[in-house]
């Protein structure tokens, strides 16, 4: 790891000040991706702005029809929250299956979403549950947020502060985990929301994406059998030593069916 300047601001304003005019600075959430990347010298930020001392960025707030989770809330906190599990069980299932216990104790929802790792779990939840990404500058709809592999709609100086999940009528998440890392080889969030059925896939493409054929099939009939015979095009999917694009295409359908079953369909 190369040297850098470390900052732990106590407020969002102070964090903003450090970021401004400092193109090589990076925000540090739980560091579960950024620190390993820096250790491998694949990233060389001039400054790290550790957001852990900004109290307003952590916590889970329940409103009538939504749950808002602060960016610095850890996966373990989301997984342990009775408020989350009673309202969006699929989200607790997802959080409790990320990495391992120690990764869940440090890793944060904001860090995971802002990183848009193609194999991370949370992007499927944000997109599938039609969440809103809240930053210090604006609110971004899930459909506009993930723009590519490790790419999002966030500006270079923008700070993701929270994610607001509207309560779905029902939702389920299923993933085929890489047996070593627990990253999703393919993971699918299926949700029946106020605006119809949404199906979001992670692990298979460059970034989390929706599958409209599955959404229409499930809108007509919310059951796993509605997806029978539906094939996913492998041509745009990821292939690596863990799974070929064809295998991922197959897994997407299987995981979608399991997610529907988990949602009670």
């Amino acid at each position: 790891m190369y040297e850098f300047n470390y900052h732990r601001p106590a407020s969002l304003d102070e964090a903003k000040r450090i970021l401004s005019g400092n193109d090589e600075a990076k925000l540090l959430g739980g560091g579960m991706t950024l620190l390993p990347t820096m250790k491998m010298r694949l990233a060389q930020p001039s400054d790290l702005v550790d957001l852990s001392a900004i109290a307003s960025l952590s916590g889970i707030e329940v409103a009538g029809d939504s749950i808002t989770i602060g960016a610095m809330t850890t996966h373990a906190q989301v997984a342990a929250s009775a408020e989350v599990s009673s309202r969006i069980a699929a989200l607790s299932v997802l959080a409790s299956g990320i990495g391992d216990a120690q990764v869940r104790n440090r890793g944060t929802i904001g860090g995971s979403v802002a990183n848009s790792d193609p194999a991370a779990d949370y992007p499927a939840a944000v997109l599938g549950l039609n969440a809103t990404v809240i930053t210090d500058e604006r609110e971004i709809a899930a459909d506009d947020f993930f723009t590519g592999m490790f790419e999002t709609a966030l500006g270079p100086q923008e700070i993701l502060t929270a994610i607001r999940f509207p309560l779905p009528k029902r939702a389920g998440y299923a993933k085929f985990p890489n047996p070593a890392s627990r990253y999703a080889v393919a993971g699918v969030m299926v949700a029946e929301t106020g605006n119809g059925v949404r199906v979001a896939v992670t692990g298979a493409g460059a970034n989390a994406y929706r599958v409209s054929e599955m959404e229409s099939a499930l809108s007509a009939n919310f059951s796993a059998s509605a997806l029978d015979g539906l094939a996913v095009d492998a041509s745009e999917l990821n292939g690596d030593l863990h799974a070929s694009p064809e295998y991922r295409a197959h897994l997407v359908v299987v995981m979608a069916k399991r997610a529907v079953a988990a949602a009670g369909g």
């Binding site: 040297e3 300047n5 470390y6 620190l35 250790k39 216990a101 120690q102």
Partner: protein, 156 residues
């Protein structure tokens, strides 16, 4: 630029001069001389470096020393009381939960975190929780046995 990091280590205040890139595990081992915490992989995979920071288990090879400033840190050295092995340590010895012992400090710190929230875990829950702790010797059987037995002892 070196900066001073201070935290509580096993109940005692400690501090050291570190650079920004000093990992917490390196500060603990090399600067504070507590070598019970091991480095197996240095890539967040093996769990040999698991310690507790502010009450929860973390991989200390994947934390900066600077991030621990002001924290409450507990390592394997802080687990025994008055020269008596902690029930978890005693159970590992009793059930042959270790062979070379390299993974053991991390296994114990991880298992203790499990019992904080789940004092009566099933065998499956123990296995799942220890996902992030690799052992190259035992085959895990006796580690799981040791954790279940310690849990029973600790429940009293």
């Amino acid at each position: 630029m070196p900066s001073t990091v201070s935290f509580t280590l096993n109940g005692e205040p400690v501090s050291a001069e570190v650079s920004s890139r000093t990992l917490l595990v390196d500060m603990i081992r090399e600067q504070l001389g507590r070598t019970g915490t091991h480095v197996g992989c240095d890539t967040s995979q093996c769990g040999a470096c698991v310690i507790h920071v502010d009450g929860v288990s973390v991989k200390s090879c994947t934390m900066l020393a600077l991030q621990a400033d002001g924290a409450d840190v507990v390592t394997i050295e802080g687990v025994a009381r008055n020269g008596e092995l902690h029930p978890m340590q005693a159970a590992f010895r009793e059930h042959h939960g270790l062979q070379c012992g390299f993974c053991t400090p991390g296994m114990i710190m991880s298992a203790l975190d499990l019992l904080q929230t789940n004092p009566d875990p099933s065998e499956g829950e123990v296995r799942e929780w220890l996902e992030g702790n690799l052992c190259r010797c035992t085959g895990y059987q006796n580690i799981v046995k040791a954790v279940l037995s310690a849990a029973a002892t600790m429940r009293g």
